[in-house]
């Protein structure tokens, strides 16, 4: 399991850079991962990230459509915050596993 230094912290990550343990996450870690993806985190970003983390703690995984119904952002805004792959990038920055689609 690769160990990566993120925001001065030794963190276990997958080969694609997703955190192995969501409890190793903090806001500085989020900012560091986001800057690698060329995203500057705003309060709105953190609202979404905290929502995803809250759901993940309850064992729920979300789709883009469900985030769009969260009341925090609609789908278009979600794309603007995390361009190209909102679910993949938001999960990575939120310290959550890579979203799996169950086909």
């Amino acid at each position: 399991m690769p160990v990566k230094t993120i925001a001065g912290k030794e963190i276990n990550v997958t080969e694609e850079g997703y955190l192995e343990d969501m409890n190793q996450w903090n806001e500085d870690v989020a900012k560091a991962i986001a800057s690698e993806l060329n995203i500057d985190l705003t309060d709105k970003h953190f609202e979404v990230l905290n929502f995803l983390r809250e759901k993940a703690k309850n064992g729920e995984t979300l789709t883009i459509r469900q985030v769009g119904k969260s009341g925090i952002v609609d789908i278009k805004e979600f794309y603007k915050l995390f361009p190209k792959g909102p679910m993949k990038f938001a999960s990575k920055i939120a310290g959550l596993p890579k979203p799996t689609s169950c086909v």
Partner: protein, 410 residues
Amino acid sequence: MKKLIILGAGTAGTMMLNKLYHELDQNEWELTIVDQSKEHYYQPGFLFIPFGIYKKKDVIKPKYNFFPPGVNVIFSPIDRVEGENNKVYLENGQTLDYDFLIIATGTQTRPSETPGLQDKLWYKDIFDFYTLEGALKLHDKLKEWEGGDLIMCIPELPYKCPVAPIEFVCLADDYFTKAGIRDKVNIKYATLMSGAFTKPIASKMLGDMLAEKNIEIIPDFYLESVDNDAKKIISYDGREVDFDLLTIVPVNMGSDMIARSGLGDDMNYVKIDKQTLQSVHFDNIFAIGDAGNLPTSKAGSVAHFSGEILFENILAAIDGRELKAKFDGHANCYIESGKGKATLIDFNYDTEPLPGEYPLPGIGPFSLLKETKMNHYGKLIFRWIYWHMLLKGKELPVEANMSMVGKKVS
């Protein structure tokens, strides 16, 4: 008398009814099945209708043909389940009591979830093939169509039969080649996934297969709306794709009855334990088939395999024993690839589709992740197996949980 009710008489519900009918003592148990429609559709056959390979008569039989004697059959839409009081309310005004309840109400297409989809081009230049009506109308369209941009679009996960759109574009390639107009047709595959399929090895194999057939994949395309005037589909990140003919898998959702009963997730799929299939809310409610929120394919094979597990667990629950049978998410899909060939994938929650032979190593007769004529015959003969064995709850000579035997791990 103790009462067991099955909601939904599709593939999963009918199969469970037959299995339980043969096992439960008819002097002790009253079995009831509820459905809103009297016709049973062989849904895997819908895919072949647009190309004239199957006709309407090949995919419909009366539901009554598959119900054992002596069970209560009620044709009515369902209003809701009241789990606290073990009651089911039907729209025909009846109220049913139960000791055990199996929900098998499936998944439905919801074109209304996508703006512009069910507008003036619906069933003129835009079609689904997940309903009999859509498949038949698409058949009429293909007979007269002279070519242009054919876009296959997948806007949301999960959806029923994840390989059907891949099969559709392969069969379309074959169909237009035979019609002598393949050079006038651009086939494109716009999907919210990052490739032809979700799991890496199958995605690569199926992606290569589409490339060989000159079918372009447009990945990560999350559909926002359809512009009927400009004949474009538009994604949330602002990309636009022109179409002359659009075939689409409309957003899938479970029955609204699930939402009214408070038993489901945001997409109206019944929240169940992914191994035991028991409702997370009530110990005497189970779900099977597309109606549940299992993180695996919505497919007949999954209904079949998980049916074996549910059968054991229902009997255990009736006796008050621990639910020992655990489902592993096993799915098995024949993928029709055109020109009389098909490929096959076999996988579960933890193991992605791998190459090899199925079900027996070195013998097969079916090949995994490889196009063969034998796989195609497997797909065709399945229709007979479906009507004569699967629905009637007879055992098939394959394991319920996935086996690594015959699979090649690199």
